[in-house]
């Protein structure tokens, strides 16, 4: 069975592994196994981010996303966001732990000074402390809710990201519970983003790794091609080059080059995670 290739049909979304793989949590489902001591990827500095933003402008990128690890561990983060917001719409994926009232006010200021939207996406894996903290560690739930409240009070309306670690999270009733939870925080315009789990990294150990049949072959190619995959329209910039997508950053083979211009060619969908992307129609975008 031969591995199918995905081509880049346009570079719409540029991701940044802005905090590397360093995180103040060590969640048991983290598909890139981030933790306080994981230095597979280091933090990116403002100058590096700026270089990619400038290249992105010449390639017609539509929007940027920042993730890690925990982006707000990066000491340059607010300056980086300011640079990104001058370029275009910007989203940050955060665990919500470092969103104190002062920071939220500064973020709100950044948002107001830009013509573009700034989206903060805060992760919740369970709708009770018990469920959430079982994955993320004791106290994480309370602090994430506090971060969400602080964002809301500063006039920023966060998107809540829910991973389907618990089977029922993805059901209609499950989603409704999260909407209710958000409404309970006084947020009148609730926004929710669901994500399936990738069985790699820490998640492979928490639950189950992929089995050998969970791989794509040429015969899986849909009629319309692979344009539903995010690797057909996005790339991931890190401190050590550009990777194909936000998911395969812990695969050396996911690296495609040093500059964005190096990464406009095809990529083989040879990883089991590609199977999840295809079967569950995953996009990490909001």
């Amino acid at each position: 069975m031969s591995t199918p290739n995905v081509s880049l049909s346009s570079l719409d979304t540029l991701w940044f592994q802005v905090a590397g793989t360093v995180c103040n949590l060590a969640c048991t489902h983290c598909f890139i196994s981030c933790s306080p001591t994981n230095h597979t990827h280091e933090m990116m500095d403002l100058a590096t981010v700026r270089t990619y933003l400038e290249e992105a402008a010449t390639l017609g990128v539509k929007e940027t996303y920042f993730t890690g690890g925990e982006p707000f561990l990066n000491p340059d983060m607010e300056a980086i966001l300011e640079a990104a917001l001058a370029f275009g719409p910007t989203s940050v994926l955060t665990n919500g732990l470092l969103l104190d009232p002062e920071r939220c006010r500064r973020l709100s200021g950044l948002s107001e000074r830009s013509d573009y939207s700034l989206d903060l996406r805060v992760s919740l894996d369970g709708y009770t402390a018990e469920e959430h903290d079982a994955i993320r560690g004791a106290g994480a739930f309370g602090r994430a809710l506090e971060g969400i409240r602080n964002l809301h009070s500063a006039g920023l309306n966060p998107v809540i990201t829910v991973t389907e670690v618990y089977d029922e999270n993805g059901s209609v009733a499950g989603k409704q519970r999260f909407f209710d939870l958000i409404a309970g925080l006084g947020i009148t315009r609730p926004r929710l983003k669901m994500m399936p789990v990738f069985q790699i990294g820490a998640e492979a150990e928490r639950h189950a790794a992929y089995e050998s049949w969970q791989r794509l072959s040429e015969t899986d190619t849909p009629e319309g091609g692979w344009d539903h995959l995010q690797c057909s329209n996005s790339r991931m910039a890190t401190g050590q080059g550009v990777w194909v997508c936000p998911i395969l950053v812990n695969e050396p083979s996911g690296k495609m080059g040093e500059r964005l211009a190096d990464t406009l060619g095809d990529f083989p969908l040879g990883h089991s995670a590609c199977w999840t992307c295809h079967v569950y129609g995953v996009s990490c975008r909001t």
């Binding site: 719409d12 060590a26 048991t28 994981n38 230095h39 929007e63 370029f87 006039g155 812990n250 211009a261």
Partner: protein, 341 residues
């Protein structure tokens, strides 16, 4: 995920202990990299990454860049030139707003009238817009709604996260699908996805969502200028006119070219007034004049008709009050923040 096999308690406990130990090892590591499912020395990861970083040669790089730009071969004929055209977006069955648009546009001296697609959904009596469009010789683009209806899809394929949004999207799609004759649907099937129109010496590309995808949302605060310049380069056009997102906006780019989202006639612009929006484009001495234009129409008559058709009170509230009440999750942070819900 549903493919999990239930385990007995003892196995579960053992596995949990193993996992906890593994986890501790993972968290404690320094100088180790997480490589897929393994832990390896950081140096090995870096070396492997450096090796697999397939840096293209300058020639390959140039070729890949050009291939990306050259994907758009467009044989769309060019209409015009005109001095002034009027362009409306999604109608969503709002035949009263459409009639008001036709009157106004004629009075304003538009030489040609365009509609960028999404004729159905939301409002009452889907078939009523058809004779209005045909009689006034409006040139219509195919939107995602027409695509779905013409191909007999069972839903509008919006794929909302919010079960409430999905409920309302399905409801209005089914209502519209029931209310359209098969003749109307096959007429929708033959509509073109794009048009090119000259206004003065400016060549405008008319699409539904974006030149790339019929269902791409172009919102003002979620679309970088670099992206729009790139699209215009790729398409070799001086301006792009689109709809689909439901909110009107215009950006004159640093290159002097234009992106105009003409808004929609079907429902108000989430601004607390019942007005709807369309665009007039005209040739001026220094290029293209863009006028986004609010339109008053008999929204109370429409609300009454929606009531008698049994359409949801949430939709009627939007027509009367001007605030969106459903399908809000598509809005970027800023546009969402400007509305009431």
């Amino acid at each position: 995920m549903s493919n999990r096999v239930p385990e007995d308690d003892e196995v579960k406990r053992e596995r949990a202990a193993d996992k906890a130990a593994e986890r501790a090892r993972l968290v404690a590591h320094r100088g180790l990299a997480t490589w897929g499912e393994k832990l390896v020395p950081l140096g090995d990861f870096r070396r492997a990454a450096a090796e697999s970083g397939s840096v293209l040669t300058p020639a390959q790089r140039a070729a890949a860049g050009e291939a990306l730009l050259a994907q758009c071969e467009d044989s769309t004929p060019i209409e015009g030139p005109y001095d002034r055209i009027a362009v409306c977006g999604g109608i969503y069955n709002n035949h009263l707003a459409l009639a008001a648009f036709l009157d106004r546009a004629r009075a304003e001296g538009a030489e040609a009238l365009y509609c960028l697609g999404d004729l159905g959904g939301f409002g009452p009596s889907p078939e009523k817009v058809w004779p209005l469009l045909v009689d006034a010789e409006v040139r219509v683009n195919q939107g995602n709604y027409e695509q779905s209806l013409a191909s007999g899809r069972e839903d509008c394929n919006c794929g909302y996260t919010d079960p409430r949004d999905n409920h309302f999207a399905r409801l209005s799609y089914e209502y519209t699908a029931r209310g359209c004759s098969s003749d109307f649907k096959s007429w929708m099937g033959q509509l073109p996805a794009r048009r090119r129109v000259l206004v003065g010496d400016r060549e405008l590309l008319l699409v539904h969502g974006s030149p790339r995808r019929v269902n791409e949302f172009l919102f003002e605060t979620a679309t970088s200028t670099a992206y729009l310049e790139g699209l215009l380069d790729q398409e070799g056009a001086d301006g792009i006119l689109c709809t689909h997102s439901g909110l009107h906006w215009h950006r004159r780019l640093p290159s002097g070219r234009d992106l105009v989202n003409v808004g929609v006639l079907g429902r108000p612009a989430n601004d607390g007034t019942p007005r709807v929006w369309y665009a007039v484009l005209e040739s001026t001495s220094d290029g293209l004049g863009v006028h986004l234009t609010p339109l008053d129409y008999d929204h109370q008559a429409l609300a009454a008709e929606m009531r008698s058709e049994g359409l949801p009170p949430e939709f009627i509230a939007t027509i009367e009050g001007g605030w969106w009440t459903t399908c809000l999750e598509i809005l970027p942070a800023k546009e969402r923040g400007r509305g009431r819900f």
